[in-house]
Structures are given as structure tokens and as C-alpha cells.
């Protein structure tokens, strides 16, 4: 071998050519490619001053991001399409749980869609290249999550024994009295208004706090009730959420150095926490406890662990040294964590034909569990369910409706104008202090003072037509039929008040109730007790 070749070989041995570049080294270089922010002002400027030097904690490059997400998808769909198919996983889910997943997957899909828009809003507004990098990855994550939630519904619709509801829950959103609450928290909360306020709603509260019980802890309940589909997808969704939580934290870091804008933070945090809590605390609690045969732990304990001790303690508590204070609504939120999901479940049973799912009244085993964990539950809710069952709640020939039963006894159902969710002033045990306010000749109902205050500050933000205003005068069976709430035979309802395949309610049975949607604000001269 020539001496020159030997020299080259020896040199390469001593100083080998790199076979790859460390992605974090690439990330460091990329930060030199900054944008000209003077020329590119955000379309939606924020009232906060976001620091141009804010960092991104995961040091992502497009290559590593794509490789990581590709591995997630391969593992998730490999499990769904191979392993779980062979195990016939879709038919091993307890029907109570499977029915609630029709709502959970669909509602979360809306959340992911709102998050997509919200993180894009933040990308447009932030000034730090690293921060924008983190937000941009989140935009792409949220596209993935929208598809993942739809995949849960799609998988269930193919493999679960009763696909009705998984197939067209998007259509049924139109009449579901819970869905406006989803739009309020996940739609308007995530993507409207100030970009930093959107970040607080989306990343600091919804993702850093409530996705832990909704997407992580829920998988334990799913598995306990035979569902391995949801853990496969939801735990994979949550592997992106930790970067979103970091995005939310860095949003806060980016504004903390400027006291002129920092003064807005407390109010925005209080409002965001109440906005997300008002929907997520009752909905997740009801889904877990009323959508399960086999129960893991009381929802109030999950809330204490994930929301109070860990999120509030580890995120907010540590920020107290920088002036952050306890949200004023915390005590009321905790009371809701004990009772609000029972209040919401009662209304869901009362309004079951509008939900699109099959609900089952708590039986003796459930009642014992509820009473043991929520002393006083039986006297307040259990007796109502027993009376409803005796009056023919499940029987299609009975003409019975829980909603009619409530209205006949003066238990009006109203829509809280701020959260857009239904509430009953006389049967609720959560943090209720109802009020009616009037503006421009129209009356608005509020279930508690935190939401009332938010409306008084920004009434234009909460403009919407509620369920009763929208459908006043509709006969119930006509409404359900118009919204697509019937099965392929054109008459059997998708929603049912039991889980049996016999004695299914039809449009004719619903017509027998003889219920025309009223506007309780007009017919009930109800005033809050003083």
C-alpha cells in the first residue's frame, strides 16, 4: 500500500469522520436561523410581553421529532390492528364503558382540534425562535391527536358490538346538551382571545392539569373494564402532552420578567382554571364512575392527587414565590370534585334520549359503592334513581321521562350561560349559587358567581344560543330524528336507558312521553333562594 494511502487510513483511524450529528447539536445551530420579527408581527398580538430569549426544554429538531412520532404511530397502530384484533378486544369491553367512550373519544377530538388552532395562534404570536419551535411541534402533534381520537371511534365502530353512536357522534353533537360545554372549554377557551390566555387555558390548565386524569388515569379505568383500545391510544397521545405542558410553562416564564404585563396573569389563570374545571371535573368524574362496572377509586381522590396535590402543588405552588396566588375558586372547585359529577350524571339520565349513548341506572352494587365513598349520595340521588326505575325509566312502553319528572316537581333545568352546561338549582349538590341576570331584554342563568363575574366582565365573549333557546317548541322524537339519533332501521333510538338488546326504545316510544322542549326561563318563575 502506498505511503499516502496508509497516512490517510491512519489519520481516519485517529480522527474518524462523524457518522451522524447529535440532534441537540443541530438544535443549537438552528437557533442562529432567527426570523425577522420586526417585519413579521403576529396577527393576534398579546397584551403580555413575551421574552424573545425564552427556551424550549426538549431541544427538538424536525428529524428527531418525525422519527419519534413515527415510532409512536407504528407501535400504536401495530397494537390496534394486529394484537388487539387477534384478542377480539372490541368485544371484551364492558358495555357501560364502551357506551361512555362514544362521548369521551368524540369530545376529546374537539379538544384536540381546538388545541391545534390554539397552538398555531401561539406560534404566530411568540417572539423566541425556540419557543416557536416548541409551539410548531405542538401544532403537528394536535393534528395527530385529532386523528387518534377519530381512530378510537373508528376502531370501536368496526369492532364493538354496538357501533351506533361511534359512527355518527359528530352529527349528534347538535342536540347533546353537554356538547356546548365542550365547545366553551375546548373551543373558545383554547383558541379565542389573547394568545397567552389561550396558552394558560390550553397548556397550563387543560393539558398540564386535566389531561392527567382524563387521558392517563382514565386508562386504568378503561383496562379495569376490559378496554385495551383506549389505553393504547390515549397513553400515546399523552406522550406528546408533556411537551405541551412544557410549552405552557415556558409561556409563563416568558412573561414573568415584565411586571407591567405580569399583573394580568392571576385573573387569566383564575378564569382559565374555572373554565376548564367547569366542564372537565363533572364530565370526567361522571364518565369514570357512571360509565364503569368495575371502579378504581372515587373521582374525588383522583382529583385530589392529579389536580390538587400534584398539579396545584408542583406547578402553581412553586410559582407562588413569583407572586402567583391560590385561585379564588379553589374551594368551590373542590366541592365540585365531590358532587358536580353526580349532578351532571343525574341530568344525563334525565335527558338520555339526547345523549346518543346507552345509559344504565346505578344498580344496588353501584349504590353501595357511591354511598361508601360519597356519604349522603343515596338519600340525595339514589332514591331518585330507585323511583325512576319503579316508574318505568327503562321500559319503552312507560312513557316515562326523568326530565318531565323533574319539571313537574319544580326542578327546573337551566343552562349556565358561561360554561354552557345544564344545571338544576334545586337538585344540585355541587358549588351552586344560582342567579338570573338580564341584559338587553334577555335573561341569563348562572349556576355560580365565578362564571357570573366572567360574563359581567366580557359578556360579548359568551354569546351563544343555548339548547332551550335553539329547540324551544320541538317535540322530542322529532328533534332526535332530525339530529340523526336513530339506528339503521330508521326508528330505533341510538340512545337507550338500558344496556339490553331487547326492549329498545323507538321514536314512537319517545313520542309517548309527549314532551315538547320548553324554555325554562319563560315557564318557570323560579328565583334563587336568599
Amino acid at each position: 500500500m502506498a505511503a499516502s494511502n496508509l497516512a490517510v487510513k491512519q489519520a481516519l483511524k485517529n480522527n474518524p469522520a462523524p457518522s451522524s450529528v447529535d440532534p441537540q447539536e443541530v438544535h443549537k445551530w438552528l437557533q442562529d436561523f432567527t426570523w425577522d420579527f420586526k417585519e413579521k408581527a403576529g396577527k393576534y398580538p398579546t397584551k403580555y410581553d413575551m421574552d424573545v430569549n425564552t427556551r424550549e426544554q426538549f431541544k427538538l429538531t424536525a428529524k428527531e421529532y418525525a422519527r419519534m412520532e413515527s415510532a409512536k404511530e407504528e407501535r400504536q397502530f401495530g397494537t390496534l390492528l394486529d394484537g388487539l384484533d387477534r384478542l377480539d378486544a372490541g368485544n371484551k369491553v364492558h358495555p357501560r364503558w364502551g357506551e361512555f367512550m362514544k362521548l369521551v373519544a368524540n369530545f376529546l377530538e374537539t379538544g384536540e382540534y381546538g388545541a391545534l388552532a390554539g397552538s398555531a395562534l401561539l406560534w404566530d404570536t411568540a417572539q423566541s425562535p425556540e419557543q416557536r419551535n416548541g409551539y410548531l411541534a405542538q401544532v403537528i402533534d394536535e393534528v395527530r391527536h385529532v386523528n387518534q381520537c377519530a381512530s378510537v371511534s373508528y376502531y370501536y365502530s368496526k369492532h364493538y358490538y354496538d357501533p351506533a353512536g361511534f359512527t355518527n357522534m359528530r352529527q349528534l353533537r347538535a342536540i347533546n346538551p353537554l356538547y356546548p360545554g365542550v365547545k366553551r372549554a375546548f373551543g373558545e377557551g383554547f383558541l379565542a382571545g389573547d394568545a397567552v390566555e389561550s396558552s394558560i387555558n390550553l397548556q397550563l390548565v387543560a393539558e398540564a392539569c386535566f389531561t392527567n386524569p382524563l387521558i392517563v388515569a382514565l386508562t386504568e379505568w378503561a383496562a379495569a373494564n376490559g378496554d385495551e383500545i383506549t389505553p393504547t391510544v390515549f397513553l400515546s397521545i399523552e406522550t406528546d402532552e408533556l411537551r405541551h405542558m412544557a410549552n405552557g410553562y415556558q409561556t409563563i416564564v416568558s412573561i414573568m420578567n415584565n411586571p407591567d404585563t405580569m399583573k394580568y396573569l392571576q385573573t387569566d389563570l383564575d378564569n382559565a382554571f374555572w373554565t376548564q374545571h367547569k366542564f372537565l371535573t363533572p364530565f370526567v368524574g361522571a364518565a369514570l364512575e357512571y360509565g364503569s362496572r368495575f371502579k378504581v377509586e372515587p373521582w374525588a381522590k383522583s382529583w385530589n392527587r392529579w389536580v390538587y396535590e400534584d398539579w396545584a402543588g408542583i406547578w402553581l405552588g412553586r410559582l407562588q414565590q413569583f407572586g402567583l396566588k391560590s385561585p379564588k375558586c379553589l374551594a368551590d372547585a373542590k366541592k365540585d370534585a365531590v358532587w358536580a359529577h353526580h349532578d351532571l350524571a343525574l341530568l344525563a339520565f334525565a335527558l338520555w334520549p339526547l345523549t346518543g349513548i346507552r345509559l344504565e341506572l346505578p344498580d344496588r352494587q353501584d349504590m353501595e359503592w357511591f354511598e361508601a365513598n360519597y356519604p349522603g349520595w343515596y338519600e340525595h340521588y339514589g332514591k331518585i334513581y330507585e323511583e325512576w326505575r319503579a316508574l318505568g325509566f327503562e321500559d319503552p312502553r312507560s312513557g316515562f321521562s326523568g326530565a318531565v319528572w323533574m319539571l313537574q316537581r319544580g326542578h327546573g333545568i337551566f343552562i349556565d350561560h358561561t360554561s354552557s352546561l345544564p344545571f338544576c338549582p334545586t337538585l344540585g349538590k355541587g358549588a351552586l349559587k344560582p342567579s338570573f341576570l338580564e341584559k338587553n331584554g334577555k335573561r341569563f342563568a348562572f349556576s355560580e358567581p365565578h362564571g357570573e363575574r366572567m360574563w359581567l366582565q366580557e359578556p360579548e365573549r359568551y354569546e351563544f344560543q343555548n339548547f332551550f333557546e335553539q329547540f324551544e317548541g320541538w317535540e322530542l322524537s322529532d328533534l332526535v330524528k332530525a339530529a340523526g339519533g336513530v339506528r339503521s332501521d330508521g326508528k330505533t333510538l341510538m340512545a337507550q336507558p338500558h344496556l339490553r338488546s331487547t326492549d329498545m326504545w323507538t321514536l314512537d316510544d319517545l313520542k309517548r312521553i309527549n314532551f315538547t322542549v320548553p324554555d325554562p326561563m319563560r315557564i318557570l318563575n323560579w328565583q334563587p333562594a336568599h
Partner: protein
């Protein structure tokens, strides 16, 4: 019954029924708490199960307040201060190349401030960017 202060059912959650509700709603528990802990949830996979057994559980020898709990589809881990997963060490144990981004494929949630540092995953209770800098190996 767990005696670990970070155990899954420690503290208020150790109580049941009315005793739990009373303590949960007590005045002292309706203000913002401050915690020095961090929480990590890891999806159960072939690699993660090895990391939990070979890297995380042995940390208990030096840190008895480290809690590791089997929650069905995921591992729930809580510890005071900080937890660091060195993916170079994981590479040796697993017998295949395993980067911090491979680890992130199965990290289902974090409560605390998480970051990558070279080939390490760091989850800390420090307020990164406020109390301390976000470190970089470059």
C-alpha cells in the same frame, strides 16, 4: 397501606368515605399547596419495563421516598427533587441503541419541569428559566 410519603394513596387519599371528604374539603386543604415532588408516568413497553426494573427501582436504595406504582397500562413514579434517566446507560442494559428521544416515545406524562440534556431525560422540581437555567451540553 403505603408508608411512603409519595405513595399513590398516601396523605389525604389514605382516608376513606366521610373522613376523606372532610379532610379534602377542610379549610387548610383549600389553599394552594407547595410540593417539592415530581411525577412521571411511563407507558408499559418492553424497554420501559426494563428501565423501571433495572434503573428506576434501584434508585430506591438511595431514595426511599421514591414511589413506583403499577397502574395497569402505565407505571406511576413520584419522587422528591429530581429524576434523571441516562439513556446511554439504558442503551447498555437494553443491548441496542436507545436515545432520549426513543425514551420520550413512551413517557406518558410529567408533573414538574422536564427537559432533555444530551442523552439524558431530566425531570426536576426546579423552575427552569426562573430559578435555574435550562442546561445544554452544547
Amino acid at each position: 397501606m403505603s408508608t411512603n410519603i409519595n405513595g399513590y394513596n398516601s396523605g389525604t387519599n389514605n382516608k376513606t368515605g366521610q373522613a376523606f371528604v372532610d379532610e379534602f374539603l377542610s379549610e387548610k386543604n383549600c389553599t394552594l399547596p407547595t410540593s417539592d415532588a415530581v411525577v412521571l408516568a411511563l407507558m408499559k413497553t418492553e424497554e420501559i419495563n426494563v428501565i423501571v426494573d433495572e434503573m428506576i427501582r434501584p434508585m430506591m436504595d438511595d431514595n426511599p421516598a421514591l414511589a413506583v406504582d403499577d397502574r395497569g397500562g402505565y407505571w406511576w413514579i413520584k419522587v422528591n427533587g429530581k429524576i434523571v434517566i441516562d439513556c446511554d446507560e439504558a442503551t447498555e442494559i437494553l443491548g441496542k441503541k436507545y436515545t432520549v428521544y426513543d425514551f420520550l416515545v413512551n413517557v406518558s406524562t410529567t408533573i414538574g419541569r422536564a427537559m432533555t440534556l444530551g442523552n439524558q431525560f431530566v425531570l426536576t422540581n426546579e423552575l427552569l428559566g426562573l430559578e435555574t437555567k435550562i442546561d445544554s451540553v452544547y
